[in-house]
Every structure is written in C-alpha cells, then in structure tokens.
C-alpha cells in the first residue's frame, strides 16, 4: 500500500512516545549504569568499565542457564507454532461453536502467571494431582520434584497449556482474513488439502505467524514466575532459566553489576533475534 509522506503524523505518535519513554528510558539508563559500576552503597560507587561483562561471560552458572533457556525457547517454538496452526485449522469458521471455542481457548491466557504455577504444582503432583496420578497409573515413574527430566517436561507442557492459545488465536485471525474466492479457485483446480494449505493458507499466514513467533520467543525467553512457583528452578538447576538466575544474582546476592551486565547481553540477544524477524516482516510486506 502506498502511503503519503506527512511529517505532522509525528504529532499523532507523540503521546505513545511520551508514555512509553517515561517508563522505558530511565530504567534502561540505570541498568547501563549498574553494569559499569561497582556499587557498595548510595555514595560509594566505582567505575569498573567492562569488568562485569568479562566476568559474566566467563560465569559457568550463567552459561548453564543460557543454554537451558535456548533449548527451552527452541522447544516452545517447535511445539507451539505447528500445534497452534493445526488447531487454528480445526476451529469452525462460523456458527455458535466459534464463540464457545474462543472463550475456552482464551481462558488459560487470563490466568495470572503465578497462579499458573500454583495450578500445575498440584495438578502434576504424583500423589494427589490428576496428571501425576494418571501418569503413574499407566506405569510411568513420574515425579516432577525429584526427577530433572520430569520437571523439565512438566514446565514445557505447562507452557504449551498456557500459551498455545495465543498462537491459535492469531492464526485463526489470519485464516479468517482469506477470501472465499481463493478456496473456490483451489476447488476448481482440484487442489488437495495439503496443496491448499501449502500454497494458499501458509503464505497468507506468514504475517501473523511472524508475530506469533516473535511474541512466543520473547515471552518464553523471559519466563520467570511459572517455573519459579512450580519447581523453584529445581531439582538442582534443571529448570533454572535466565530470568531466575538473574533475579538470584540481583536480589539474592545483590550482585547488581554482573546481573545488570548480563541483562544487557540478554536484552541484546532478544533484540538481535527480533530485529532479524522485523526485517523479514518488512521485506515481505514490500514483496506482497
């Protein structure tokens, strides 16, 4: 779509910039400050340059957390995106069941994040929780508080439960925007179900899919409250993801400098990934 050049449009954008800048700029500057200083108290700060950055880049605990984080986010995307597309295709296009399905789908998204952890903490308990008892009764030796792999899988399934709906809702919106004429043309050509998906639906879904991938990547990379309540990061360090490691550093041990330095690196990782995605979206808009 060709847009008119109009610099006064800045006036319409200004309120957004002011509101967001108010909460965004000062905290970011403060974190940059922390990352370059050694802070003992309000009046005794020393400039340490890139010392903290060097330190955190050598810290094995952080490497471990980062490694688990990348595996976790990768697994989240690999499961939730295809599952979300498949379920969006299963949703009825019209009729009374649309509202019912949408309401039920949206429900997990509206559970406060610590409550999500609380629900699963009991739901997955091997002695009194529905999922735990069921898994043990079919012969699996399942115990998420004792076994690292069980804990990991539980956090992953909890996340799938919690967030797949977002992907479904976004994809459903994308599917609804495809005109009927496309499907009619495909029927006349005798296209198979797979061909319809591959050559009509998937290309039209690209836009919303990128949004879904971006949001899921960002939120899974920042995950904190749910695993914290469910497993407390354990057993051992099995489910300690980046946010939790950082909170321990910043609040628990009061190592503000290194924690800040690492947050900035963390922020840059997310930023870089998102920027690549953003450019992809822009380029596709230009082509399409």
């Amino acid at each position: 779509m060709d847009k008119r050049e109009y610099q006064w449009a800045w006036l319409m954008v200004l309120p957004v910039v002011l509101v967001v800048a108010f909460s965004a700029i000062m905290p970011l500057m403060t974190v940059v400050n922390y990352s370059l200083q050694d802070i003992f108290g309000p009046d005794s700060r020393f400039f340490v340059g890139t010392e903290w950055f060097k330190e955190v880049l050598r810290d094995p605990a952080l490497h471990g957390a980062l490694f688990r984080q990348i595996i976790f986010s990768g697994a989240v995307l690999l499961i939730q995106i295809p599952l979300g597309i498949a379920l969006a295709l299963c949703l009825p296009k019209k009729g009374p069941w649309v509202s019912v399905s949408l309401v039920l789908l949206a429900l997990p998204l509206l559970v406060p994040w610590n409550v999500v952890g609380t629900i699963w903490q009991v739901f997955a308990r091997p002695d009194v929780g529905l999922a735990g008892v069921f898994l043990n009764s079919i012969g699996l030796d399942y115990n998420y508080t004792g076994d690292a792999i069980d804990a990991w899988v539980t956090v992953l399934i909890m996340d799938v439960w919690h967030w797949t709906s977002l992907v479904i809702l976004l994809c459903y919106a994308g599917l609804q925007a495809i005109p009927d004429a496309f499907y009619q043309a495909a029927r006349i050509d005798g296209a198979s179900r797979w061909a319809v998906f591959r050559y009509i639906e998937l290309p039209k879904l690209k836009g919303v899919l990128l949004i879904a991938i971006l949001l899921r990547f960002i939120f899974s990379f920042r995950i904190y409250a749910e695993p914290f309540v469910l497993t407390g990061g354990g057993p051992g360090n099995a489910t300690t993801f980046l946010s939790q490691r950082l909170t321990t550093m910043a609040v628990g041990q009061f190592d503000l400098g290194p924690a800040a330095a690492f947050s900035l690196i963390y922020f840059l990782i997310i930023l870089l990934f998102s920027y690549v995605f953003y450019l992809t979206i822009l380029n596709m808009d230009r082509e399409g």
């Binding site: 610099q7 967001v20 379920l87 997990p108 509206l110 994040w113 629900i119 739901f123 994308g174």
Partner: protein, 267 residues
C-alpha cells in the same frame, strides 16, 4: 482431514485446556486435608468454606479492587495513546517511522529481573510509588506496543478512500476519526482492549515491585495464604478461581467482537 476428525482433535485439546482449571475449581471446594491426603476426582466432603472465608473477610477485597482499577486505567491509557499512533503508522510515511515502531517493540523484550529495581527507583522518585496509575503506566511498556501493532493491522484493512471522501466532505480529522473511522474498526478496538486487559491482568513482577499496600494486586495478596502451618491450599485455590472470574467475564462480553474482529483484521 475429515470434518469429524478435526472436531475430535479440537475437542481433545479443549479438554486438555480445561483439566487443570477443573482441578483448581475442585481444590477450592475441598478441605485442605482432602487435597493433600487423598486423590479424588471430585470433592468427597463438598465445602464452600473457602469462598465464605474470602467473601466475608474484607481484607481480601482491596486486592481485587486494586488489580481491576489499574488494569482498567491501563486499558484506557493504552487505547487513548495507541489509536492516533496506529492511524499515523497505517496511513502516513514519516521520518523514522519504521525505527520508531521497532523501538516500541523493544520495550516488550527487556528482561524484568534486573529492571525491577530501576522501576522502583523511577516511580519512587516521581512520587507515584504504590499508586494505581504507576502500575498502569509501567504496564503500558508492553501493552502500548501491542495495541499499536494490533490496531495498525485493523486500520490498514480500511480502504483509504473513506478517509479522503470524508475530508472532501469537510470533516475535520478528530470528527472523522471519532464518528466514522472508529465505528468501522470497533471490533479491532475490542480485540485490542482484550489483549491489553490480558497482559496487564496476568503481569505480577512489576506490579508487585512498585506497590506495597495501597495498590497491591490480588495475585500478591494471594501469597499471604502461606501461614504458620504451611500453605492453605484450599484458600489459595479459591483465590485463584476468583482471579479467573474477571477475565472470564471480559471474554464473555467481547466474544462476539473477538469472533467478528478476527474475521476483519489480520491482527
């Protein structure tokens, strides 16, 4: 894929989604002893004691009121600032537009852990600590970029000829926007409000950091069920069920808009 198999798959998924929520609901209707000692699919001694406890204890109310207040404030602020901005992004080219849009998105990405202390310092220094408006403002960090993003999608779906005709007919921009344009994207506004509500309602870390008593959110009030004798699971589950109610009500009211809104925009 046959139509029946599709619906079976969808049905199974919905059952999977509902099971943990069913379990929470059942927990809230059981006694603590039953929750922790026996496995039962439904309560053997059905009790509504937990609900009675919360509804008759006035110290539980402020949590719900605070959360509702700051979420509503957040939705109002987000929509007010995001509507004109989304219009600008969807209709005009201006200096730095694409960079500005990406900068907005970067605010969703900042990891909360280390940013909490600066947030505390910021709101403390401007005298907004422990107020509803502070939480609403802090949450605009991620609701506003999302709102702009979603609204821009809906607005781009409205043909530009409508704008041009209105201007030719002598409409001023505010009058055109409020009386013609806004009704056209009503469903989009509904969907956006829903997303803002959702993200503000479930966020806890920031809300907890910049409040202490006056604006304390319900999700934090809940943690006080940890008593000397351990966790009061029944009460915790009941409070949890009650945090779902406002969300469920909101979805119920906007369900038509969501279904219709999804049909219109590309989100």
């Amino acid at each position: 894929m046959g139509s029946n198999r599709r619906y079976i798959f969808l049905g199974l998924w919905l059952v999977f989604l509902m099971l943990p929520i069913y379990w929470l609901l059942m927990m809230s209707l059981k006694t603590n002893q039953e929750i922790l000692s026996t496995f039962s699919l439904w309560p053997q001694n059905l009790t509504v004691d937990n609900y009675v406890k919360i509804f008759t204890d006035a110290t539980w109310y402020p949590g719900y009121i605070n959360s509702t207040l700051y979420v509503v404030l957040n939705v109002v602020i987000s929509l007010t600032v995001a509507l004109p901005a989304a219009y600008a992004f969807s209709r005009y080219k201006f200096l730095g537009d694409k960079h500005l849009f990406f900068w907005l998105l970067t605010n969703i990405m900042a990891p909360p852990a280390v940013f909490l202390l600066p947030f505390f310092e910021l709101y403390n220094s401007v005298g907004l600590y422990d107020t509803h408006i502070a939480v609403a403002l802090a949450h605009t960090l991620f609701t506003v970029p999302l709102a702009v993003w979603i609204l821009e999608g809906f607005m781009s779906g409205v043909p530009k000829e409508i704008d041009e005709t209105a201007y030719l007919d002598g409409y001023s921009w505010p009058r055109f926007f409020l009386t013609i344009f806004l009704p056209l994207i009503r469903s989009g506004v509904g969907v956006t409000a829903f997303f803002c509500f959702m993200f503000s309602w479930v966020e806890l870390l920031i809300a907890r950091t910049i409040t202490s008593t006056e604006a304390k959110p319900i999700a934090v009030t809940m943690t006080r069920t940890v008593g000397a004798s351990g966790l009061d699971w029944g009460l915790l589950a009941t409070a949890g069920v009650l945090t779902l109610v406002p969300g469920a009500l909101v979805i119920w009211f906007v369900r038509k808009h969501i279904a219709r809104g999804f049909a219109l925009g590309r989100v």
